[in-house]
Symmetry: C2
Subunit: 235 residues, 2 copies
């Protein structure tokens, strides 16, 4: 964790990539810019551990984090990712519970840290901000509920296709049609909720079926419609 020299201003982030802090009034923004810390975190850094108390929330200025729970046998279950503009750790702060997941950097990240007290103060001072935050947590709850349905009812094959499409929508493709997020096979398995070997086998099936192309960890989406058909995309 290194202090980051070129500290981003919350106003800019709010306008360029839509953080929730754009709801704040100018005085609050000033206070926030003063109170927050901004640091660069290398890949592999753990921001907080499942079960621990968190001291505040992180706003992602750049890079990618994964949030996961750890099962009995040590196997990770990835719950979500956080990228530019996303807020992390707020669930624990607002519910006043220990963190329900571990947050780990998977692509070098510039993060702004906002102390819990500060966040709560802003909620209490600014009803619009409170509404926005509530909206965010309720949306995340909606996503989680959808996830429950999928894991409970879809096959691994369907879910993997689903996840590839989700990653495409969330992180986008580069000019060559390659997914803009790089994951290990194990991480893919930990999203889908399956064994690493199963992911490997299914990916190479998708490849023979001309749905994707593989080059190490780079995944190129070749036939999106085909993936949608497999995923039983309906909503």
């Amino acid at each position: 964790m290194k202090p980051f020299t070129d500290i981003p201003c919350c106003t800019n982030c709010g306008t360029t990539f839509n953080t929730i802090f754009k709801e704040l009034n100018p005085e609050q923004i000033d206070l926030l810019n003063y109170e927050k810390g901004c640091t660069l975190h290398k890949r592999g850094t753990v921001l907080y551990q499942e079960g621990s108390r968190v001291a505040g929330v992180y706003c992602v200025n750049n890079g990618i984090l994964k949030l996961f729970k750890t099962g009995l046998d040590g196997k990770e279950q990835i719950l979500r990712f956080a990228k530019k503009g996303d807020l992390v750790g707020y669930r624990s702060v607002l519910s006043e519970e220990p963190a329900c997941s571990t947050a780990k950097v998977i692509e070098d990240a510039v993060l702004c840290f906002i102390p819990a007290k500060m966040l709560v103060q802003m909620v209490k001072e600014n009803p619009e901000f409170a509404m926005k935050l509530m909206r965010m947590s309720c949306q995340e709850l909606g996503t989680a509920n959808k996830y429950i349905l999928d894991i409970a009812q879809k096959t691994v094959r369907e879910r993997l296709a689903d996840i590839l499409l989700f990653l495409k929508n969330d992180f986008g493709l580069d000019n060559d049609g390659i997914l803009q997020i790089t994951l290990t096979r194990e991480e893919l398995a930990n999203i889908v909720g399956t064994a690493t070997e199963s992911v490997i086998r299914l990916l190479s099936e998708f490849k023979s079926d001309k749905l994707i192309e593989l080059n190490g960890r780079k995944i190129k989406i070749v036939n999106e419609k085909g993936l949608e058909r497999i995923a039983n995309f309906y909503k």
Copy 2:
């Protein structure tokens, strides 16, 4: 849906079974008591459908609801239950999205309906209430995340034991040690995320192992420690 004659006062509910509305100040309580409607709903009633917009939230004064999503093939996945004191529909109202689940009465219920506008107004007027509501949604998010881990990593056997213990904690036992909530085998399967036949087989295994006793839909918890062992209860 029949109008309910003996309308409960929000102050009483707040003190006797801890609704979130106990955060409100006296004027807000008065307004709420005036604005809300209270009705009796019979078993089987659907309060709102997945995908539809909801006009407000329901506060459960009595009875039990199930909230579920419906899969492609029509199979339900139960997300949670709501009983005395619980709030239902708030996710949709606060996220300004259509409902992500269907709410159905499974034990005759007395429900107070609070219009969306009213709820939002209270959030904006009362920061403490906003915090409480946010806390509630974040806690539900924590539960959902735990659910994701369980479904993804535990076996059906483990999850069924888990669910029985959960139902025991949430709804309690009567004097004979029998679960205070009555579910069909299919509903149990729709919580666990498995086939009805699997639930039946596992329940009768649990019965031969002297962990539970069965009498129609009544389930008696005989050996809680044993169930905990099966469920891999650790947190």
